[in-house]
């Protein structure tokens, strides 16, 4: 392998006086599924949003396919064609049907013909099991269905990398499964994914690597077996312990 698909190099980010990322360095290859865990406020979402430049970094650099994407002269719209994003609160376009949501980017960003875009849209809705809801508006869908449309929307753009920002956190517990199932399918298909999530089941079974972020820095980074069974750092152990207790209580 030459360059990794994604590389973060000593990334710093502050909001005012509050430092959110302090010297994050990290890389992942095509086909990897990396799951970022960490306490709330640890900078997980910020790290993700820096990758497609919804958030601008203060210093350091981010490389996609060997190309620096944090340069001032990078075309952010070009970058975002290659990096899809799935949001915690879905952010589906409220005025468009499920199909319209999936095809908007194809038509207006990729410049596809309407009929070709529809065809591809149906394909991706089928991929997330929602072909029968193609004509439903977001308000008519359940949370789990909305999030699956969100995934289909991101997939349709054929991104090199898919970012997931806590995709199941806004869901009722009984709806988490359907979304996780779709994500697991994508992982099996070899889609490169960077996922911020506390879904331990997904992390254990689908992740190639787990990244533990705390206080804006990467505390530990390793395959799930190692990180979950034999965490090296005290902070990781403590966090995982707390997460398990919460799970058992819940």
């Amino acid at each position: 392998m030459s360059d990794p698909l994604l590389r973060l190099d000593d990334v710093y980010k502050s909001y005012g006086d509050e430092r959110v990322l302090s010297g994050v360095s990290f890389e992942m290859d095509t086909g990897d599924v990396d799951v970022v865990i960490g306490p709330s406020g640890s900078g997980k979402s910020t790290m993700l949003r820096c990758v497609n430049r919804l958030t601008e970094i203060d210093s350091g650099a981010i490389y996609l396919d060997g190309e620096c994407v944090t340069d001032a002269d990078t075309d952010v719209n070009e970058l975002r064609k290659q990096v899809g994003m799935v949001f915690q609160d879905f952010n589906l376009f409220a005025h468009l049907t499920a199909l319209g949501n999936v095809t908007l980017g194809l038509r207006k960003v990729r410049g596809m013909e309407k009929s070709a875009a529809r065809e591809k849209g149906y394909e991706h809705l089928e991929q997330v099991g929602l072909l029968d809801q193609a004509d439903s508006y977001p308000a008519e869908l359940s949370g789990g269905q909305k999030q699956r449309v969100g995934i289909a929307q991101a997939l349709a753009m054929d991104p090199e990398l898919l970012l997931f920002d806590e995709p199941t956190s806004a869901l009722d517990p009984e709806l988490v499964g359907e979304v996780v199932d779709v994500m697991r399918d994508l992982a099996a298909e070899g889609i490169t994914m960077l996922v911020v999530s506390h879904e331990m089941g997904f992390a254990r079974s689908a992740a190639s690597d787990i990244v533990f972020l705390d206080g804006g820095e990467i505390v530990e980074h390793g395959p799930p077996e190692q990180l979950f069974e034999n965490p090296r750092a005290d902070r990781t152990r403590e966090f995982l312990g707390r997460l398990r207790t919460e799970h058992e209580e819940g």
Binding site: R80, N91, L92, A94, K108, V109, Y137, S142, G143
Partner: protein, 330 residues
């Protein structure tokens, strides 16, 4: 699945609440009256402007007054015979008498209605074209564009419409330029004062409309533009394809209000000699001294226009309604 049924149930509730609140469209009598009103207007205008008065000479009513006058006299007679109990008949006679007296003025008032409708439609439509970029500048612009847009809005909302009309008509050479244009003041193309009024209403209405649209754009959740940007749309594209289609739907109720205001405010154009409905009524009244009848009549015609506008906007709102968006979703 539980959440799904719940959500669709609440969506259905939202729709029925809205349908109850709408009202006007659900009244067949109103719809019928409005249809008759517009049928009359269209036939009248066609006859006067296009056919050169081949159905009825210009200025002559379609309806005969004699039978109605006769009915009024008869009712009056009945009322007199019944003494105290005849009072309701007396009122009825008065009403029928009013209708009979109004009929001869209707053709000229219909010409005024033409100008009023044209003035309102042009003002609201051109105003809209300016208001959309203006409101986008207010919400998404940099500090300079934002203050320019704010300055414009405050200037036109903060000064009287009448003053704006006067300044444009008397203090600028606008009417002279317009007078030189071909076709102005011939046939159904109104004279220059009318076009000055259109400019004034456009500029003024743009300011008000931009406020309605601005607040509607602000009510589109921020995540919508973020999501648009994250699939690679530029900011302008995101606004155009995602924020505006939603924001404009939110803006419909406020915007309908502006349309209703503009119908009535268009009467101010009479101050710069535009022969719209109010000016027409005023002119006839000062010749005939029948002020009460003519202003009541003009008022009724304005009311009919306003009710028509409300019906139209209700229909538009229903036509573009999307589950979960706009009035039906909140």
């Amino acid at each position: 699945m539980g959440a799904e049924t719940q959500e669709s149930a609440s969506a259905a509730d939202g729709r029925s609440v809205r349908a109850r609140a709408t009202g006007l469209t659900d009244q067949p009598l109103t719809a019928f009256a409005v249809a008759v009103f517009w049928a009359w207007l269209v036939v009248r205008w066609t006859n006067d402007f296009l056919l050169g008065g081949s159905l009825a000479p210009r200025g002559t009513s379609f309806f005969p007054t004699a039978p109605i006058e006769f009915a009024a006299t008869t009712l009056s007679g009945v009322a007199a015979d019944l003494g105290v109990f005849g009072l309701p008949f007396q009122w009825l006679a008065g009403l029928v008498g009013f209708v009979a007296a109004s009929i001869p003025y209707l053709p000229e008032l219909a010409t005024g209605v033409w100008a009023t409708v044209l003035l309102t439609v042009a003002g609201i439509a051109f105003g809209f074209v300016i208001a959309v970029p203006l409101s986008i500048a207010r919400v998404y612009g940099g500090s300079v564009t934002r203050s320019l847009a704010l300055g414009y809005t405050e200037l036109f909302r903060g000064t009287p419409l009448l003053a704006q009309l006067f300044v444009l008509y008397f203090a600028t050479p606008l009417s002279i330029y317009i007078r030189e244009l071909p076709a102005v003041g011939t046939g159904f193309v109104p004279a220059q004062a009318f076009w000055v009024a259109v400019v004034a209403f456009t500029l003024n209405s743009a300011a008000y409309q931009s406020e309605y649209i601005r607040s509607a754009l602000n009510s589109v959740p921020e995540g919508q533009l973020t999501a648009a940007r994250s699939i690679g749309l530029s900011k302008v594209e995101g606004i155009r394809y995602v924020v505006l289609p939603q924001g404009l739907r939110y803006a419909i109720p406020g915007w309908s209000n502006e349309l209703v205001y503009l119908i009535k405010y268009s009467s101010l154009a009479s101050f710069i000699t535009v022969r719209e409905l109010f000016e027409q009524a005023d002119a006839i009244a000062s010749e005939t001294y029948r002020y009460t009848e003519l202003f009541v009549l003009a008022g009724l015609l304005y009311l009919a226009l306003v009710v028509s506008a409300s019906l139209l906007m209700d229909a538009v709102e229903r036509y573009v309604a999307i589950p979960g968006l706009g009035a039906s979703g909140r």
